[in-house]
């Protein structure tokens, strides 16, 4: 969101008291958390502890793990899980669902435009530089028409709740978003661990994710939906998300394949079976663009399928997501999503971005330069926290350095307020304590958008930490989307 009035927004730069998901004020739970609080009191700490242990064991036994890189024997760990659910009301979800539908619709139109006439660039809404300098922009995709004009079949969007209680989009994952297997497993475990509390709430089901995904994949098939053979393409067992690939293939009842199982002949994709070659029509691929076809992209890729892009271009196979979607989740392009929504849909965004200042706009740049000690500055081309200035933790020298960089290359930087993520109660070593959380929601798009009422709530398990990534001490919670408030 680009603030309408810089003065009014300036107050939000200091780390505010985070929004508390459960409590309105000390000791006073929000109405939709009241039952949970009562039930937890009835159970007592020891009983909750016992159930947390049962949950951990269940994850381990089911093999719901992720592979840790760098160890030859393939160490597998469980993704830490917190037993207390995060609850989202029907009203809150309604806004999110409409917002995400709007967002994926606009992003699909944006991608189609970028790979065809690029009107949005000609009209001066998004700078050409931003798009064409992005390494995820695939020139090979120019002029290709994916089925239904659909580039994004699966999207995972990360949302945070700002101190005023509103949800805002922090990041879109438009390439090969992961984590949905944890969302589904968390729910399975939760229903076993807290069956009674679960029954007390009217929670919307999420178990149909696999069916919905399969339906979307069918809808984008190049042949009749019934005849379409659909496979999931994985980089193989050494990939950290392999568990999820196998899990989803099983959920959908489709074949999990690796690049070496597929072969392209005369622009048709086949899988190698013991009964010869069998044609494949839709590939739900969990391999990055760079590796899907050594003929078209990285020549040294051993994971891909030579000739896949030619088969795709000829319309004989669908790749979901389409190659080249990464251009739309680039950090700097992200800042333009509200404009992109307005441009294609002639609507205001229902769920906004996190406030983002573009250094190419003089007023925003001046404002940011004056408030460097309060803001986070990010280099648009970098990721993983590289090339970043965290204002409140920075020195004068660092700020001067960034001031120079921004003035020299305003296009390479964006600035955002230092975010104060909302907090939710977590059960940690026998105590219930608040921890910062975010929310990844999954949006599917075939003939139309489908949003699974739930998501992966990620938790920063370390006290005071704002980092929710699993590699850095993050965990997750089940996310309950209610049909209605329990007391209404």
């Amino acid at each position: 969101m680009v603030p309408q009035s810089l003065e009014s927004a300036a107050g939000g730069h200091v780390l505010d008291t985070p929004y508390n998901e459960m409590y309105e004020s000390a000791g006073a739970p929000r109405s939709h958390y009241r039952i949970l609080q009562d039930r937890l009191k009835e159970l007592g700490t020891e009983e909750i502890q016992r159930r947390q242990q049962a949950a951990d064991l269940s994850f381990l036994q089911q093999g719901i793990t992720f592979t840790v890189y760098g160890e030859k024997t393939g160490t597998e760990r469980i993704f830490p899980y917190d037993v207390l659910p995060r609850i989202v009301t029907a009203a809150e979800w309604d806004v999110l669902a409409r917002g995400m539908t709007q967002r994926i619709t606009a992003l699909n139109l944006f991608l189609h435009d970028l790979y065809h006439d690029a009107k949005i660039i000609a009209d001066g809404i998004v700078p050409a530089d931003l798009v064409y300098s992005c390494k995820h922009y695939r020139r090979e995709m120019r002029g290709i028409d994916p089925p239904r004009g659909n580039y994004l079949t699966v999207v995972g969007t990360d949302l945070v709740r700002t101190p005023d209680g509103r949800f805002a989009v922090l990041e879109d994952n438009l390439r090969v978003p992961s984590g949905v297997s944890y969302m589904l497993s968390n729910r399975q475990v939760m229903k076993r661990v807290f069956p009674n509390i679960f029954r007390d709430y009217d929670v919307r089901p999420i178990d149909h994710y696999g069916q919905e995904l399969l339906a979307c994949l069918r809808e984008v098939a190049p042949v009749s939906q019934a005849a379409a053979r659909i496979v999931l393409l994985s980089p193989g067992i050494y990939n950290s998300a392999y568990f999820e690939h196998a899990f989803l293939a099983r959920q959908m009842g489709i074949q999990l394949v690796e690049g070496r199982d597929l072969v392209v002949h005369d622009n048709i994709v086949y899988e190698r079976t013991t009964a010869g070659l069998r044609r494949v029509h839709v590939i739900y691929r969990r391999i990055d663009d760079d590796f899907i076809d050594p003929m078209a992209f990285r020549e040294d890729s051993m994971l891909g399928v030579p000739g896949l892009m030619n088969a795709y271009r000829a319309g004989n196979v669908t790749l979901a997501n389409a190659p080249g979607t990464g251009v739309a989740d680039d950090k700097a392009v992200y800042a333009y999503v509200p404009e992109i929504i307005r441009y294609y849909l002639k609507e205001d965004p229902i769920v906004d971005n996190v406030e983002t200042y573009l250094m190419t706009r003089p007023a925003e740049r001046d404002h940011a330069l004056k408030n460097l000690d309060k803001l986070v500055v990010k280099a648009v081309g970098e990721s993983g926290g590289y090339g970043m200035l965290i204002g409140p933790h920075s020195t004068q020298t660092q700020r001067d350095e960034f001031r120079e960089k921004i003035n020299a290359h305003p296009r390479n930087y964006i600035a955002q307020p230092t975010l104060s993520l909302s907090v939710a109660p977590c059960f940690l070593e026998g105590n219930i304590e608040p921890r910062h959380i975010d929310l990844r929601v999954y949006i599917l798009f075939g003939a139309h958008a489908r949003i699974i009422p739930g998501g992966l709530t990620r938790v920063a398990l370390r006290k005071g930490s704002l980092v929710v990534n699993s590699s850095q001490g993050g965990g997750s919670k089940d996310t309950w989307v209610l049909n209605d408030s329990p007391d209404s």
Partner: protein, 286 residues
């Protein structure tokens, strides 16, 4: 002019291979300066060839050979008609630089104005531009011709001195290079002056009395730069000439990486050797 081209590429493998796949950019373009009247591609072992037009308007032919083989021969035969390029304007346009700068924001010129894989600016290149006096003083066309002459004077054409994908610095340092080096250096110089420039792969017809070092019987590469009012003009720095009706254009791209004549993969642990034979002859028009 009418030309008949025969281009044979033979791949030999020291071990049997299978499931080989190849993409070719060998079909001469049909656009402003030329027309491809006939084109025939054949392979041995025989394969069903398919084609598509890439986003730059180049025709890409591709095929796969699923069975076991240890040799692959690709023969492209074309009949092309070229037209003499329209003479470049003699009266330099003082407003040309401003007009060029106005193009910079247009999506379709972005690729031609920015560094690409093999056409990357370097300190050595900047020093070379400096010493050759290449700057935005005269009109764009004059500066481009100066760049072509300066490159030709500094670098000696020497087949085999570098590879098609050598960095520009290597040829500037050695003062010798192949036609791709000349083209890449010229493109980087032009883009450094914010003049849109692109790479052209193709053939050059060689008359018996011509003294071009690039010789005949080989593919050739040169560059094109965009000049307001005139459009794309071909510059052939390895032969120190402007591209004319003896230059037969096959494909255009940001640099060599976008338009290699062939690109392929195969299964099998074999080493590949390649043998190329090209004939370009004048044909009689009917």
């Amino acid at each position: 002019m009418l030309y008949r081209i025969r281009h044979v590429t033979a791949f030999q493998y020291d071990q049997p291979i299978r499931e080989s796949m190849m993409e070719l950019r060998m079909r001469p373009r049909s656009d402003a300066g030329q027309r491809c009247l006939e084109f025939d591609l054949s392979t041995l072992p025989a394969a069903h060839t398919r084609s598509y037009t890439d986003h730059l308007g180049n025709v890409v032919q591709h095929f796969d050979i699923p069975g076991i083989h240890d040799r692959l021969e690709v023969t492209a035969a074309a009949l092309v008609e070229t037209h003499a390029a329209a003479p470049a304007p003699t009266a330099p346009d003082p407003a040309a630089w401003e007009q060029l700068d106005a193009l910079a924001d247009r999506a379709e010129f972005w690729d031609w104005l920015h560094p690409s894989h093999y056409a990357i600016p370097s300190e050595r290149l900047s020093a070379f531009a400096e010493s050759a006096g290449l700057r935005r003083d005269a009109d764009p066309l004059t500066v481009l011709n100066n760049a072509r002459e300066a490159l030709h004077a500094h670098v000696r054409y020497d087949r085999g001195s570098t590879r098609v994908d050598s960095p520009i610095d290597e040829c500037l340092e050695k003062q010798s290079g192949v036609c791709q080096d000349f083209a890449h250096a010229f493109i980087a110089l032009a883009r450094g002056l914010r003049i849109p420039a692109r790479y052209v792969s193709g053939y050059l017809y060689h008359r018996t009395d011509d003294a071009e070092p690039t010789g005949h019987g080989a593919t050739h590469a040169w560059a094109e730069a965009f000049v307001p009012h005139t459009g794309w003009i071909g510059f052939d720095p390895s032969n120190n000439t402007v591209a004319g009706d003896r230059h037969i254009r096959v494909a255009v791209g940001r640099d060599y990486k976008d338009v290699p004549p062939n690109r392929g993969v195969f299964k099998g642990a074999a080493n590949q050797t390649m043998d190329v034979h090209v004939d370009v002859e004048r044909a009689r028009g009917d």
